[in-house]
């Protein structure tokens, strides 16, 4: 029969085409067990980088590390204070040479002991250029960093940091290349986590199922879909998991995660979509959390552009700051998940930590008349118009940028004084910033690495600092920061940092917009849910009923 012949040819053609390109697949992926009792299910996003402590710089991978590792210090989820965790003591006499004693009795979940070597090896790994660790700059204060991580990308001349020395089974010394009195308080950051020997012996194996020393162990990890973390029964620390485990489920969209929470299929959503903020309160009642996080949003300026850097422009910048009605924007667009900023730090630091409400003073007060006057005195907007650049792909930035522009336009009685300048992808946006191609103010967000005022100022505004995107530079500011870092008395150090902040204010090096909150919602099954200052849920304290 003719038809049959044709059909056979068709089948043949397909077979040939498929075979030629060898695009066979072996549908894999098994689903782990678990009966779900005492297990919290939580929304998650696919981590952007491999899950190594010194290579994880975003919140999704950070969640895992927070459950999997305990470092020398740990930040109190409420106060933000850096408390000793694995550190017995950290001593210094000159703010530059530190002696660290590690508590004995700690173990990794594979049975290896956590000792001084676990830390030194991990830090050396993180600082070594050949390992491509994106958080390497955290080790930049340690002596010998310029040898293991030459800034120009040339061949490294050492594999280990000369400033780190193991002096006993549980002690090691750290020599810094500058005075840095609050250095011990930075050690709560995930990049400073200890690593077991198995990390170095079988790296690929470790990556597919990481092993740490925290209250949870990884039961199974299907990349890109779900990670099942279970309570580690023999965990030696005091902050044992209060639940049987956490299932981190990757969601394609945070709206879907929210819908799943509503339908009772998910216990915890730690990223309530902007479009649902309006409903979250009525949907969830007191199961909706909205607490301050260590995130501040600012507008940075391209100081490499002459037009923005000439004398008198500080008046224009201050004028722009005063033309923004922060109160109204945070209320209508963000539904109070942002708080108008009045300094360059974050409320999570607390008064003692350096947060000073109102430090910005008049310069951050909304006053359209004064704004107009200041901008005119300063010589007007460069080119008659400001373009605020932002990435349009994530984070609903368009809404607030348009609102800011509206506010500026109203203040100046000019419809074209300010326009938004969307850039397609985040990567492209970052590219244009790093290549100094910005021609006007641009969105700058900062999520702190550790709750110290130093972290809000030095990386962002110190001359040529790693995140000084606008290339703002001021000798007075740099001098005050150096003095503050050398100061051993914390109160005095904070005071010096605040003086530096005032220098920043007087030149309006960046316009503070608002402090960002972390928002989350949870189901009736779970209780005692809170977010820490990094807007990561405190998983080990969640109770399941």
């Amino acid at each position: 029969m003719r038809g049959a012949t044709h059909a056979r040819w068709a089948a043949c053609a397909v077979a040939v085409a498929l075979a030629a390109t060898a695009c066979g697949d072996d549908g894999g992926g098994d689903s782990g067990g678990g009966d779900g009792s005492g297990i919290v299910s939580s929304s998650w996003g696919d981590p952007q980088n491999p899950l190594e402590p010194a290579n994880t710089n975003e919140v999704q991978g950070g969640k895992v590390l927070d459950m999997l590792f305990r470092g020398l210090k740990r930040y109190d989820a409420k106060t933000g204070k850096a408390n000793d965790m694995l550190a017995e003591k950290i001593e210094t006499s000159d703010s530059q040479n530190f002696t660290v004693t590690v508590k004995s009795g700690w173990k990794f979940s594979n049975g290896e002991a956590v000792d001084a070597k676990s830390f030194v090896d991990a830090w050396n790994y993180g600082a070594s250029l050949k390992n491509n660790q994106k958080n390497a700059y955290f080790f930049g204060y340690i002596d010998g960093y310029d040898k293991t991580h030459p800034e120009d990308g040339s061949k490294q001349t050492a594999d280990t940091l000369s400033g780190l020395k193991v002096t006993g089974p549980n002690t090691f010394t750290v020599k810094l290349n500058q005075k840095f009195s609050t250095f011990p308080d930075t050690l709560g950051y995930a990049a400073f986590s200890p690593l077991p020997q198995s990390f170095f012996d079988d790296h690929a194996g470790w990556l597919s199922k990481p092993v740490g020393n925290g209250p949870y162990t990884i039961d199974s990890y299907a990349k890109g879909s779900v990670m099942k973390m279970r309570e580690w029964v023999d965990y030696p620390g005091e902050d044992k998991a209060q639940n049987g485990g956490v299932d981190l489920k990757v969601y394609t969209d945070n709206n879907t995660a929210y819908t799943d929470l509503m339908a009772g299929n998910l216990d915890l959503v730690d990223d309530v979509p902007a479009s649902q903020l309006k409903n979250a309160k009525s949907d969830l009642g007191d199961r909706y959390i909205n607490t301050p996080a260590g995130i501040i949003q600012t507008l940075a300026f391209p100081f490499y552009d002459k037009a923005w850097d000439k004398a008198g422009m500080e008046k224009v910048r201050t004028g722009l700051s005063r033309a923004i009605d922060r109160e109204q924007i945070t209320e209508t667009i963000f539904q109070k998940t942002r708080t108008p900023a009045s300094d360059w730090t974050s409320p999570v630091l607390g008064e003692a930590g350096g947060f000073k409400e109102g430090l910005c003073g008049d310069a951050c007060e909304y006053d359209p008349d004064e704004a107009k006057k200041l901008i005119e005195e300063g010589g007007g907007l460069p080119g008659g118009q400001v373009k605020i650049s932002y990435n349009a792909d994530t984070g609903s930035h368009k809404e607030w940028v348009d609102a800011v522009c509206n506010s500026v336009n109203n203040a100046l009685d000019n419809d074209k004084a300010c326009v938004g300048n969307p850039i397609g992808t985040f990567a492209d946006f970052r590219n244009q910033i790093t290549q100094s191609k910005m021609s006007g103010p641009f969105r700058a967000g900062w999520q702190m690495d550790y709750p110290l005022i130093q972290n809000f100022l030095q990386p962002l505004y110190y001359t040529n600092a790693s995140s000084n995107d606008g290339k703002w530079t001021n000798a007075e500011f740099d001098k005050l920061v150096n003095e503050a870092n050398a100061e051993t008395d914390q109160a005095k150090a904070v005071d010096l940092f605040q003086q530096a902040e005032e220098v920043l204010r007087d030149d309006m090096g960046a316009i503070p917009l608002w402090y960002q909150n972390g928002s989350a919602g949870y189901s009736e099954r779970v209780s005692n849910v809170a977010l820490n200052q990094f807007s990561v849920p405190v998983y080990n304290e969640i109770k399941v009923s």
């Binding site: 689903s31 980088n49 991580h149 030459p150 120009d152 879907t256 790693s466």
Partner: protein, 307 residues
């Protein structure tokens, strides 16, 4: 016939290279992807250079393309930025999307053709008008509206289904997403079948068949439908490729970790390897599906011959 197939297969080669080159160029136009890897801060220059070297981004573009294609032919599609092999991503994404596509195509064939036959045979009757109106509504409402609406109604309000699909994505969980994905095409299939049937109903061979005294269902299935299916088959064939690559919206709404989601994430993160790899496979699917459609013509209508 054999020569025709071979010729078609040979024609695929330039199409394949052209398409991959275009995608490769387009993804590269978006700029340097490394900058997006370090969050809201600058990657330290040394690490950035090192990463560029590792991903081969420091070489000229033509060289990158040649290396990439060379690797593809040995089955190596490169590594995504999170350290996963792209082939590994494909192995997890494609089975899911293929299942989703099968569900969608089945809906198109079963419901679409059945409705088309019913309306085509009863032209002008209330059934016909009703279905025509319904298809118009389906075509004019965007997929994400139908998707979100069904998710909210069936998933949250009535609790019939789970609003999100589990990572394993078995067939039964894909029924509603499949229906949503198929909805627009389903409406087109109905309309195409209807027109074709209505036209052929008056053809001579149908009258002959009826005059011969053949039973009604045999007239419809063997004579009328078989000849009316050619435009429908063309449409469904090209739709396979469109459904597989174009499921981004549906996959995001229903939390399906398939091809659409991987592509979306790859584009956001400017991950050249992921995007080019997935699109390359999709191009192949398109080419094969089209060839199949052309060959199916001959099966359906013996008058069509390929030399």
């Amino acid at each position: 016939m054999g020569r025709y197939v071979i010729r078609r297969l040979l024609q695929m080669i330039p199409v394949f290279f052209g398409a991959t080159l275009l995608i490769f160029l387009m993804v590269n136009v978006m700029g340097d992807p490394i900058a997006g890897l370090c969050g809201d801060r600058q990657c330290d220059p040394a690490t950035a250079t090192q990463l560029r070297k590792e991903f081969g981004l420091d070489k000229p573009l033509w060289q990158q393309y040649v290396t990439y294609m060379g690797n593809v032919f040995t089955g190596d599609f490169g590594t995504a930025f999170n350290g996963q092999e792209v082939t590994e991503l494909m192995a997890s994404a494609f089975p899911v999307t293929i299942r989703l596509t099968i569900v969608a195509i089945l809906f198109e064939i079963v419901i679409g053709i059945a409705l088309g036959v019913v309306t085509g045979l009863r032209r002008g009757r209330p059934v016909d008008t009703g279905v025509l109106l319904a298809t118009l509504v389906v075509i004019s409402v965007p997929t994400f509206v139908t998707g979100l609406l069904l998710q909210l109604l069936l998933g949250v309000e009535w609790g019939w289904i789970s609003p999100s699909v589990s990572p394993e994505a078995p067939f039964d969980e894909l029924i509603v997403p499949g229906l949503v994905l198929a909805s627009v095409s389903l409406a087109y299939v109905t309309r195409l079948t209807r027109t074709s049937i209505a036209e052929n109903r008056r053809a001579d061979y149908v009258r002959t068949a009826v005059a011969k005294g053949l039973p009604r269902h045999r007239v419809i299935t063997r004579h009328l439908l078989r000849n009316s299916l050619i435009p429908v088959v063309t449409f469904i064939g090209t739709d396979i490729g469109a459904l597989m690559g174009g499921a981004i919206v549906t996959e995001r709404i229903f939390n399906i970790h398939g091809v659409g989601f991987q592509l979306y994430q790859g584009i956001l993160r400017q991950n050249t390897q992921t995007v080019v790899g997935f699109v390359t496979v999709l191009v192949l699917v398109f080419l094969v599906a089209n060839l199949l459609v052309d060959l199916l013509y001959a099966v359906l209508d013996p008058r069509i011959r390929y030399a």
